[in-house]
Symmetry: C2
Subunit: 300 residues, 2 copies
């Protein structure tokens, strides 16, 4: 049985940023999240790739304690081509070839049905709901989404909220979802719907956790070199689910998880694609974690 599972996409990306460009590199929310999660917990992936996907990458995932029982292999792999302009805040899409992702019908394999810790990455809320309904004993479910679903099937998203513990979205998504500019009021609306907690990510400006009567903020780690922000949000979320799976779900652990998530996602932006995640060590992670703690400490 795999205790921690991630639903998301796997892609082959062409990425251009002010720092350079790379073609045919690994991408997709499930990959970034799973590589981050695997720093803490054995991780199962629910995703789809094509027959063309490089076999050595699959072997590499297995070497990282990433279980592939939930990986479907059909047709051709999803491809994304995009670029970032100077501020690197927002990816611009040049082209998308959905390929096999277009017909993806996620299913929980038998060894995932008792999984307790679940990250439902951005996809059709219908698929997210289907996974939730197949879980026999969930302890902590976190959900991501994006503007496409918010703008087209907001009601489906709202149906998911009573079934999850943590909603993780960026500031723009929070504003669209709750039709409210002020982030504190967005969070209030989320909690009023029965959510335990909501994390609002603000890119370089850090992230905010809202739970009943409490707010916790982690500033962004101030990088001096930003190479490729692709996957920062997903590696952030993957770190959270991994840390919570390893240490249990509590507000204190969620806060601690956000510090590690800030460390992992800041590293992630320092090289193209998953280069840094593939080579992350616990020593490097702890070093940046400690630096992030010091950023807000009055003591020298």
């Amino acid at each position: 049985m795999v205790n921690t599972i991630i639903l998301g996409s796997i892609s082959v990306d062409d990425i251009k940023t002010p720092a350079g460009e790379k073609s045919n590199v690994l991408g997709g929310s499930a990959i970034y999240a799973a590589l981050a999660c695997s720093l803490f917990s054995e991780t199962g992936i629910i995703s789809i790739i094509g027959e063309d996907f490089p076999k050595e990458k699959l072997e590499f995932f297995k070497s990282k304690k990433i279980d592939l029982s939930g990986l479907q292999i059909i047709g051709k792999t999803f491809r994304w081509k995009g670029y970032y302009e100077n501020d690197m805040n927002q990816a611009k899409t040049l082209s998308t070839e959905l390929n096999s992702l277009a017909d993806f019908k996620p299913e929980l394999p038998e060894n995932y049905q008792n999984s307790e810790y679940v990250f439902l990455g951005n996809t059709d809320p219908v698929h997210q709901l289907k996974i939730i309904n197949q879980l026999k004993n969930p302890k902590f479910i976190m959900l991501d989404t994006m503007n496409f679903w918010i703008n087209t099937v907001k009601e489906d998203l709202f149906k998911l909220i009573p079934k999850i513990n943590l909603l993780i979205v960026n500031d723009q998504e929070a504003r669209s979802l709750f039709n409210e500019i002020n982030l504190r009021n967005c969070a209030k609306k989320a909690l009023d719907l029965g959510l335990d907690s909501i994390i609002i990510k603000k890119g370089e400006h850090g992230s905010m956790l809202f739970v009943k009567d409490k707010i916790f903020i982690v500033p962004g780690y101030p990088l001096d070199t930003l190479v490729d922000p692709t996957g920062c949000g997903d590696s952030f979320a993957g770190t959270i689910i991994g840390y919570i799976s390893k240490n249990g779900y509590s507000i204190k652990n969620l806060k601690q998880a956000m510090i590690y998530a800030t460390a992992v996602s800041s590293y992630n932006a320092q090289e193209f694609s998953t280069t840094i995640l593939e080579n992350m060590t616990h020593e490097k992670l702890q070093k940046r974690h400690d630096e992030i703690i010091l950023l807000t400490r009055l003591e020298e």
Copy 2:
């Protein structure tokens, strides 16, 4: 002798925000900064108003331990009319009547010449330099500026940098001044020019202090109601100079000052004009200070 002085503008403002509108209200960098500063230290103002300026306001400033020896009264008071759109990040100017401010030639009165703590608010760098040159015994000089001066007389600004201790600018100003997008690299360039410290303000996203080999970050206080952000930057700066004047200049005190400054400037945005600053109490200030500290603490 007045030990803490502030150079800046005084205006009568008409302000419109999504929360409402007010006409003929008090404004200007010197007023916001001095009201904040006076929470900690007796404060002298170097500024100019017109004969039309309400006399009862001058009496009110005196009641707040604000010294007016450096206040010139000529012609008509500077007027500013502006508005904010939904995100409230940036004031849009509808009209400016410089009036007596157009011919303002700031001079240090005799009882300010031995002042040790000085905030040079945004104005022509030539005036800022003139004040610096008249100081006999400065211990800590902090400087603000804005894009108009950065775009037109950047060289004059750079000449000031070796003469000051702390540069305080917002993110856009830092980027323009140092011709660099990355804020950490902006700060590096500032410190390489011989500055002790630079604070970069990021509005609702908080503020960052950079000193040699250290970064300190205070998140923005998450307000649920934002009424009028006018003067937030100036009340932030005024709090810093007041706190440092009262407690002495050290990195630890600068960090502590930034927490209080975040508290004061967040309160400032909760009502129009200087309403909140005029009625601030030490109890209210300490309460928000303590809340801001808790925002980044792992402990519950």
